[in-house]
């Protein structure tokens, strides 16, 4: 059984019971990139320490943010 979540790289199909950390492992090119990204699930911040525990559900939106230049 699978679920589909929405990401900036399009829909992502995952096994039921997948976590934020497992989704990030697929989305990011390098494992080290996970420390350079902050995550939000359905608009709510997911701290780095909780990514292994937070489960994803059908239709969730997972977004990744990085630091950029700014004024």
């Amino acid at each position: 059984m699978t679920i589909t979540i929405q990401t900036d790289r399009g829909p992502l199909e995952l096994p039921h019971g997948s976590t934020v950390a497992q989704a990030l492992a697929i989305l990011l090119n390098e494992p080290s990139d996970t420390d350079a990204m902050a995550t939000a699930l359905n608009g709510q911040f997911v701290p780095r320490r909780e990514r292994e525990q937070v489960l994803l559900n059908e239709g969730d939106t997972l977004l990744c943010f990085a630091a950029i230049t700014g004024g």
């Binding site: 990204m37 902050a38 630091a67 950029i68 230049t69 700014g70 004024g71």
Partner: protein, 273 residues
Amino acid sequence: MTATADTTNTPWQLGDVTLHSRFLLGTAQYPSPQVLQEAIEASGAQVLTLGLKRTLAVPGGGDNGFVEIIRRCAQAQGAHLLPNTAGCRSAREAITLAHMARELLNTHWIKLEVVGDEQTLQPDPIELIEAARQLVSDGFEVLPYCTDDLVTCLRLVDAGCRVLMPWGAPIGSGLGLLNPWALRTLRARLPHTTLIVDAGLGAPSHATAAMELGMDAVLLNSAVSQSGDPVRMARAFRHAIEGGRAGFEAGLMPTCDVAVATTPVGGQPFVLI
């Protein structure tokens, strides 16, 4: 040479931190990482602003080394990073972004931006105050980007903000101080609140004027990054800010609507008294 050793400014407090430079510099829209680095060094700034972005949305959406330069400059110059919540339109968005910034950049400082109008990028006071209240209770040092409206500023202080960043003019406009009276009023009514003029400055003279009003510091970006020579302009603003502050501390002379003779000639030189 560090900014601290190279400045004539008297120390001031930003939150719990003592700074010497009163120049907060934005890091966006520079022509290259090298120019940004040189502009930061020339500015002597001890606070550098950053933003957050969904970089996965853009293929190859990296920053071309700008953020690494900022981090290195900050370390070398003893500067602090100040992330912003640019792009947010609601308190909820800004709160989420602030928490992400704290995790990414390891700072509890946040430049709180909540835009309420697309044309002027004027802050939304309702959402701003709501976000400020929540973030202060979450342990942030909140630096809200606000207008110069006195009542909004009072409410932000009520929400727990120790620092306010009223605009001089709309972001990126370069128009300078549109309402010096309002800023002077803020200074008079909030003598114990740190006031940083943020946005709208276009020329070094604008920064001098802000400092002469008794503002504690200025934050700017476009006036430097969009200059023909950002490094030279950063240096110009540095001197302008230091000059304005020195003038404020020295005390400006009282103004007068009529002429007051300065040379003590004792009347007209060829007229017998």
